[in-house]
Symmetry: C2
Subunit: 360 residues, 2 copies
């Protein structure tokens, strides 16, 4: 195991095996290291705090109306990675924050995300979410809309309890931007002529805004200067874009079923994602007709998913979407350059590498 | 025209004809007067401030995504009375608040209400809203869900701009309670055995919580003592319950089509409201079978609405729902007793009388 000597003279293992305990303190690292495509360091560093986040999540999803905790439980147990709240925890700690309010903000971020998923599934008429039946299939569209509203309300209540108007500003801005992005996607959806720029505007709003806010509030809690707040905002935003682009690629990758995301979901729902945008532009008339028939007109036949996967490969659309993801990933990593080398920074850099390399 | 002498020796007309201008200042009134069942004094007092509220509403519903202002415009023009934001304006002024932030809070309150209406229509599968086609019929369920989310996001952004953590606490609590009430109603809906208490719990959450918050924040802006804040909270809550009960009655009143609400909407949507709760309990087996068939099983035939209207009359369910509304209306009016007699207080007392007497 590689180890590095921390300035405190305590030997800190850089690569930890699962279960090893790392205290939630910022440990300065000497020199730089190559980011690893792994969430292990992040998991280990935020483990205790995430335990507290999970307790708050369960507590705040409680209600005398049984349907609410039932449905919330389904989502909580459905095994998301909780990347967004982990960003809030790690960014706060990296910024030297020593209080406990980051736990509440992290739980708010996860509730905002969960509320979005619930409403998304209704809008997209999704039957599956993370390899399980979606809430709207199990409990109906009505419950999904209303429990989403409830979780959003709880998220705002928690943020208000934290008492930072600046954090409230950042997160409520994000809430409005996310919703605007969703409407944008609804309008653009099924339009195969969407440009790459238009698509980027959609995912900047609907995905990257929450990553950005989740990271930025860490600097607010740590009472860091504006430059560091801006750095974390940029880090989150670019990581969010990279993350979404890789998600887009995974949907056209035959061998990724084990990640919990079913291959072909986006295709079946007629979603225009970057692989499609690129493939449509690079294809010939027959190819374009195929994309219009399947995604625009929703006429999907046997073998069409296989043909779609073949086309995005043939046109280099998968390769170049990954290329784009790497581009945004680099911006995210560079954004953190102004922070000193600490274990938390290393974990955040690793998270970027992981978000991209999870493809393989 | 009745006039009373204000302490400032300026003659203030108590009853104003439309168009007469009343400055937005608290005018102390000598002695008490009987509340009038009219919104005219309230309209006149808040007229200028509501102009500012409407400008903010239009401004904050703006977006590069055309669908958002289009849909918002539809709602803005659909002629709601804007009772909730008027409560915020009048309560703030009654509490001596002289700033301008009450306009932003009032607009937030209206956005929260509008977002709820959009989501409600999706959940209830309503085709009409205030006598016009509902947004979900014109733009689809997806747009209604997402634009609702957008308006809620904008509401929180505005509240954060106001910068009062206490007002934020009150309004975010209300948001969570409203959503919880909606879920409660979803679970209870179509259950003809719902008790009066259960029904009251639903409308306390889904309707009264926003009335309550809308009034209470006035005391917060005016920096009034806790007792006055509690008084306005109680005023709003009880007014909200009375208002909802009268709405319930209107849905079974044949001659109220001119109010913009179609008679029989609740019946057709299978909604259990207090007239039904009372009629079901007081009816015989044949009556109960009728309610179960129509509301629980959704099997509605020609002539059923007329039969339902006959039953709620026959069982005194309409008369007693109105009686209940008067009870809550009285509590609302008494809650304001601790405030000095001013034109704003008179307007709020009138609003309670109007909410009940609009039946006739």
């Amino acid at each position: 195991m590689t180890t590095i000597t921390a300035k405190t003279n305590i030997m800190i293992p850089l690569s930890l095996t699962k279960g090893e305990r790392v205290l939630g303190v910022v440990v300065p690292l000497t020199g730089t290291r190559e980011p690893k495509a792994s969430l292990q360091l992040l998991f280990d560093l935020v483990n205790d705090d995430m335990g507290a986040v999970n307790r708050i999540i369960i507590d705040k999803a409680r209600s005398d109306v049984d349907l609410i905790p039932e449905l919330a439980r389904h989502l909580i147990d459905s095994g998301g990675k909780r990347l967004r709240p982990m960003l809030t925890i790690a960014a706060s700690r990296m910024c030297g924050y020593e209080g406990e309010e980051h736990v509440r903000l992290a739980a708010s971020v996860e509730f905002m995300h969960t509320a979005t998923l619930l409403h998304d599934d209704v809008v997209d008429e999704s039957d599956m979410r993370r390899g399980k039946k979606s809430a709207r299939i199990l409990w109906g569209n009505e419950a999904s809309v209303l429990v989403g509203d409830f979780l959003l309300g709880q998220a705002f209540k928690m943020m208000v309890q934290v008492g930072s108007l600046e954090a409230l500003r950042i997160l409520s801005d994000a809430a409005a931007v996310i919703a605007e992005g969703e409407v944008m996607q609804l309008v653009a959806s099924k339009d195969t002529e969407t440009t790459e720029d238009e698509y980027l505007a959609v995912i900047s709003a609907k995905t990257a805004a929450l990553f950005s806010a989740a990271a930025e509030v860490g600097a607010v809690l740590g009472e860091r200067p504006k430059a560091e707040q801006a750095a974390l905002r940029s880090f989150g935003r670019n990581l969010g874009i990279a993350f979404q682009l890789v998600d887009d690629v995974l949907d056209y990758s035959g061998d990724q079923a084990q990640l919990g995301k079913s291959v072909g979901d986006d295709f079946r729902e007629g979603k225009i994602t970057l692989p499609v945008v690129l493939s449509y532009r690079r294809g010939d008339d027959t190819n374009r007709k195929f994309w219009r028939r399947t995604l625009q007109e929703g006429d999907i036949r046997d073998g069409d998913l296989e043909e779609a996967i073949r086309l995005v490969q043939e046109h280099g659309a998968i390769r170049d979407t990954v290329e784009r993801a790497r581009h945004y990933g680099s911006i995210a990593q560079d954004a953190l350059a102004i922070f000193p080398e600490t274990n938390y920074k290393a974990a955040l850099l690793d998270a970027v590498a992981f978000s991209i390399e999870r493809l393989h």
